[in-house]
Symmetry: C2
Subunit: 148 residues, 2 copies
């Protein structure tokens, strides 16, 4: 990343730690993700939010938050940005006037469509490293860590 400090350091037990390996893997994949989707300029969380809204037109903010593990307070600026960019909108709730119903705009649909194409390339790159079998094993193993 910088400097040619290529004297190999001893990492001790770190490489044997699941948490450490997860951290490093995630740092690496996020970087790749951002690079792969830079044409549509979407970060992983934004991509996930758009996807959930698209799959569930009219959802409430708190539902998206619960589904993705985002705090409702942090969701506000996140959605503001998507709205500012014309990708998603808050519509007034019909039954419950406290809540807003989230929808993608036509442009949001288009951008998400394009993002998916780019994401597919990125995902294929990961699958290439893992192999088909490895990929499904990984998904299964990570799933065991997620369930709280």
């Amino acid at each position: 990343m910088q400097g040619s400090n290529r004297r190999k350091l001893r990492l001790g037990p770190l490489p044997e730690y699941v948490g450490y390996a997860l951290r490093r893997a995630q740092m690496s994949t996020v970087t790749q993700f951002v690079g792969a989707l830079k044409d549509v300029d979407l970060r992983p969380t934004q991509f996930a939010v758009l996807t959930v809204i698209r799959e569930n037109p009219g959802v409430r903010q708190s539902e998206v938050c619960a589904a993705l593990g985002i705090k409702k307070a942090n969701f506000v600026p996140l959605l503001n940005e998507l709205q500012r960019r014309g990708l998603a909108v808050r519509r007034a709730g019909v039954a419950d006037r406290r809540s807003s119903a989230l929808h993608l705009t036509a442009q949001g649909e288009a951008v998400l469509q394009r993002a998916r194409t780019l994401h597919d390339v990125y995902e294929a790159g990961l699958a290439g490293r893992l192999g088909m079998r490895g990929r499904s094993q990984l998904l299964s193993l990570l799933g065991r860590l997620i369930e709280s």
Copy 2:
């Protein structure tokens, strides 16, 4: 996390994405890590830095940065904090007066020792979810994602 928005949302293709699964798994494990080590009050990065210094007494900052994927600029406040807490020290470099040689203090050694005990419990919890075989598979698969 909040609200009883337990209407199951459709997540679309998200659960099939390696990147998304990694993200969720890491969110979950970091939370567990912080909880497990709250008695010694170490975050994952601090724990990793102390470990590397301990394994390589006298390392330079940039070496630790390269080994752990930390930007040198961000390493400064990180180490400042460890030094402020009396866990690590910068000693003047002997051969090269630009660099500082990093060492753990006696207290740093003690805290790291204690941290490792706590970390072992946390790691065992993860291993319990994965199984011994699953754990080593996971480490292997994550390793394939890390090599850039």
